[in-house]
């Protein structure tokens, strides 16, 4: 039963992540933005590993870019790696400062997977 619930929550969450406005398109600029946009194209084509590789490249160039960390969280979520998704969302939060919109997206990932007690 717990497994079914877990599977359902992943499904719902994956759908949510798809519906979430991609935080990559407008906010960051420069090489990070370009890579995140390219990653989106790969993800749309179902090439999740390629997308992750591109986002990791963005993280290497801009290790404090909260959008890149958030995208890693989203991509891990789409692969069903819940633990990783939460951790990347937390990392994104660390660099989000006053970006409430992004923080809310991260919290959505963290709380959906790990509901607050």
């Amino acid at each position: 039963m717990r497994l079914i619930l877990l599977a359902l929550s992943i499904l719902i969450l994956s759908a949510c992540s798809g519906m979430m406005p991609t935080a990559t398109l407008s906010d960051p600029s420069g090489p990070g933005k370009l890579l995140l946009t390219q990653a989106q194209t790969h993800q749309d084509n179902g090439e999740v590993d390629q997308a992750i590789a591109l986002v990791e490249r963005a993280v290497r160039i801009e290790p404090r870019n909260p959008y890149a960390w958030h995208r890693l969280a989203q991509l891990q979520l789409s692969k069903g790696n819940l633990h990783k998704a939460i951790q990347f969302a937390k990392r994104s939060n660390q660099f989000s400062n006053n970006n409430q919109r992004l923080k809310a997206l991260n919290e959505k990932i963290i709380n959906h997977v790990e509901p607050p007690l």
Binding site: R60, I61, S96
Partner: protein
């Protein structure tokens, strides 16, 4: 003599009837018959055997030629240098990178693999390269660097701005098959026309028309050799040479020659000329690099000229053909004149055969040998890092596959960081030996990694960085001294202490598990009494650490250490608090990586991706991270480490680091000054340095007087001032603290420092020195007013 008549059956019959009439004649006849029959028999058997043997050779020829022809070593690549506007890089660093990947200076920088520097502007033409995520096309770009930053980056053809591109990565190592044959496979169309023409002109003029063996050629060679009274000319075709190298041994016997001829003909029977020529181009032995044998034109082009075979010029092509006649005899690096003479002979032959014109020949002959330094990117440039790569890969790959499948392994090595680390270790070990009159050879190990990704960018295992031996960065096991103290203070912060908490730096005697009394001392042998946690950490007071550690519980500190990434079992002995446990620099790097990542444990890694020989993605080693600490707590500790570097044990040396760099870290010194450590980080790099003598003798250096010098030198060259503002943390309040009392400070306090305090921790009383001393815990009006904004 025998006659045909004697062979008639009648005769045989009569002979049978009268056996004793003419015994001599009869015996002769019988012998003749036996010989004849034997001859027929042996001819038959011989023909059959030859047929069977030929079939056997045919099987050998086709099986090997159609199967996996060669064991191809795996190639290890550094990170690709990313280029984008605002990228921090100096012109010198860019030019060095270009040199490392074999770019040559040219008049316009528009030929692949060339560049042109004009003041702040650099024009360069990149080579196409297949990365894991995408292919980077060949392009000509122009960039300008000012104030150590890329200002503009544009496509030379279209004039369009380029937001991001990358150079091809440097090849940093090779994992060879056990027989040490190395080669870079090339296809025939990748070889310059000149090379093929020169090869045929010199080695086999009738290659396109013979059937594996050139009988005319053999005859000519025979005549020439008789005339000269020795071997001056060979008659072997390219096919025979291929057979000899590919299938047979080097022994000079008639049997081997016969096999060679049969197999050459069989090869020609089965395969077309292009296939044979391509196999030859990849098989041929062209030089030696230590134990590594250089095979094929693809690798030879890299080995001698540091460029791909497609970019070989006419004189370079001719030189390779010159070398193949005797790679040791015509080694152009050892016998330049001899090699040059033979190269020019080859160019003359090409001119005679009208393969090139007079002008081409004259220009090529006037060209110098244009050799690259040896080896420009062979096996030995970064042995310590490649060793780490091998260890990481051995968890997932069989040794044999790593050595033979031609894998393309992409790593995180940053040649710029690596060079800085190597040079710094070499320079400082020599200088310290001299300044401190160290009797035993000083050596060291360094690990540098990146916060965020956890990627290792540099590993130095010896002060002679090219030495492929004991790897001190990975394998030396030495007591770590005070390097573990941040874990102790972090545990205290977790338990509600703050940097302002006062702790006792007083004598302590502890009965150990073996019944012995342990009485640690401070380095300066002074008991400092009550000190703030900040001072205890930044001045590395041993007694304060032990007293605090015993109060908060050793087990908790051990747990913190393990959460920080120290994976080995740790004994919960009091001496652990002062680092009486042996570790390697890479172990410490993992611990400080977690601190640099503000509480996120990020496993260190050196390998990013593995592609097959055909560039098909095989495996990725993705980034991982896990939050193990509240980042407020880590921020507090990291402030303490910054303070330790600028005001504490690092005070004197840190003056050599620019003040606009955010750097912090901890010294480590061991008993009798045998080990000198420093571990710390800035915004972009985590670095750990260990110095010591291999025989474990005293070196007379503390962490500050030894390793910290190396560390500061490295960070001063690599770190850049923080361009973005540090992220705010609403859980932290900055308060002025009087370090003499640990209470809130104010205008009147001479020893007051602004400290980050986690909410609901730290003092709420004012120190007597704070303005409005009569106000007691409330402080003066000015201090209260300031407090409103803190």
């Amino acid at each position: 003599m025998t006659t045909p008549k004697k062979r008639t059956p009648i005769r045989r019959k009569s002979a049978a009837k009268k056996p004793r009439k003419n015994p001599v004649k009869k015996r002769a006849k019988k012998t003749t018959n036996i010989i004849k029959r034997s001859l027929i028999f042996f001819m038959l058997v011989g023909t059959l055997s030859l047929g069977a043997y030929t079939l056997y050779l045919d099987h050998i020829v086709t099986e090997k030629f159609e199967g996996k022809r060669w064991s191809i070593p795996s190639r290890v690549y550094a990170r690709a240098l990313e280029l984008y506007p605002d990228k921090q890089i100096t012109t010198q660093q860019l030019l060095r990178e270009l040199k490392l990947i074999g770019y040559r200076s040219s008049f316009d920088g528009r030929t692949a693999g060339t560049f042109l520097q004009q003041g702040e502007s650099v024009t360069l033409s990149t080579r196409r390269f297949q990365h894991w995520d995408s292919e980077e096309p060949a392009q000509t770009i122009k960039l300008s660097i000012k104030n150590n930053k890329i200002q503009t980056l544009q496509d030379m053809l279209t004039g369009a701005a380029i937001p991001l591109t990358r150079l091809e990565p440097m090849q940093i190592g090779t994992i060879y098959p056990t027989h040490k044959e190395d080669r870079v496979l090339v296809q025939l169309e990748q070889l310059p026309e000149y090379l093929i023409k020169a090869l045929m002109a010199i080695e086999d003029r009738h290659f396109n028309s013979h059937y594996g063996v050139d009988f005319k050629g053999i005859g000519r060679a025979l005549l020439a050799n008789i005339k000269a009274g020795g071997v001056v000319q060979g008659g072997s075709t390219l096919t025979q040479q291929l057979v000899k190298n590919f299938y047979l041994s080097n022994e000079r016997t008639i049997t081997r020659k016969i096999n060679e001829a049969i197999m050459a003909m069989l090869l020609e029977f089965h395969y077309d000329k292009a296939e044979i020529l391509e196999a030859y181009a990849n098989e041929i032995y062209l030089g030696q690099d230590g134990a590594r044998a250089i095979h094929g034109f693809g690798l030879a082009a890299e080995f001698y000229f540091n460029k791909p075979a497609t970019e070989l010029s006419l004189p370079e092509s001719a030189l390779l053909v010159a070398i193949l006649r005797g790679p040791a005899f015509y080694d152009p690096r050892r016998y330049a004149e001899r090699a040059l003479k033979r190269r020019n002979h080859i160019l003359d032959t090409m001119l005679r055969d009208e393969l090139i014109n007079q002008q081409q020949a004259a220009s090529a002959k006037a060209s110098p040998l244009t050799l690259s330094p040896k080896p420009s990117h062979g096996s030995g440039r970064y042995p310590a890092f490649v060793e780490l790569v091998k260890r990481q890969l051995q968890k997932d790959y069989k040794e044999d596959d790593l050595r033979s499948e031609g894998l393309r392994i992409f790593t995180s090595l940053d040649p710029i960081a690596q060079q800085v680390a190597e040079q710094s270790l070499t320079k400082w070990t020599a200088r310290l030996e001299k300044d401190y009159k160290i009797k035993h050879p000083l050596n060291g190990g360094i690990v540098i990694s990146r916060p965020g990704s956890g990627e290792i960018t540099a590993v130095v295992g010896d002060r002679a960085a090219r030495f492929d031996g004991f790897n001190r960065a990975l394998d030396t096991q030495r007591p770590v001294g005070s390097l573990l103290k941040p874990a102790l203070y972090l545990t205290a912060i977790q338990q509600g202490y703050s940097l302002a908490s006062m702790i006792e730096d007083a004598e302590v005697n502890i009965t150990e598990h073996n019944g012995q009394i342990w009485s640690p001392q401070n380095y300066d042998h002074i008991n400092h009494g009550k000190v703030t946690l900040l001072e205890a950490l930044s001045h590395s007071y041993n007694l304060a650490a032990v007293n605090l550690g015993m109060n908060i519980g050793l087990g908790h500190t051990v747990q913190t250490l393990q959460a920080l990434g120290i994976e080995r079992p740790l004994p919960a002995y009091p001496s652990l608090l002062l680092g009486a446990v042996e570790m390697a620099p890479i172990d410490i790097a993992q611990m400080y990586q977690t601190l640099a990542d503000e509480g996120f444990y990020t496993p260190l890694r050196a390998v990013r991706e593995v592609l097959t020989q055909q560039n098909t993605p095989l495996q990725r080693y993705p980034m991982n991270t896990e939050q193990r600490f509240d980042h407020s707590q880590i921020q507090v500790i990291n402030f303490g480490l910054e303070h330790a570097f600028r005001q504490g044990t690092g005070h004197q040396i840190s003056q050599y680091a620019p003040t606009n760099l955010h750097l912090g870290g901890k010294t480590g010194t061991t008993d009798d000054l045998r080990d000198s450590w420093f571990a710390g980080f800035g915004d972009e790099h985590v670095a750990v340095v260990w110095l010591g003598a291999d025989n474990n003798e005293t070196i007379g250096l503390t962490g500050a007087s030894g390793a910290l010098r190396v560390w500061t030198d490295i960070m001063s060259q690599l770190a850049t001032p923080r361009s973005t503002t540090a992220h705010k943390n609403s859980n932290i309040a900055w308060r002025d603290i009087d370090l003499n009392t640990g209470l809130l400070g104010g205008n009147g306090c001479a020893n007051s420092v602004s400290l980050p305090l986690i909410k609901n921790t730290g003092p709420d009383e004012y120190a007597p020195c704070a303005q409005g001393i009569l106000g007691g815990h409330r402080g003066g009006i000015w201090t209260k007013f300031k407090g409103l904004f803190q």
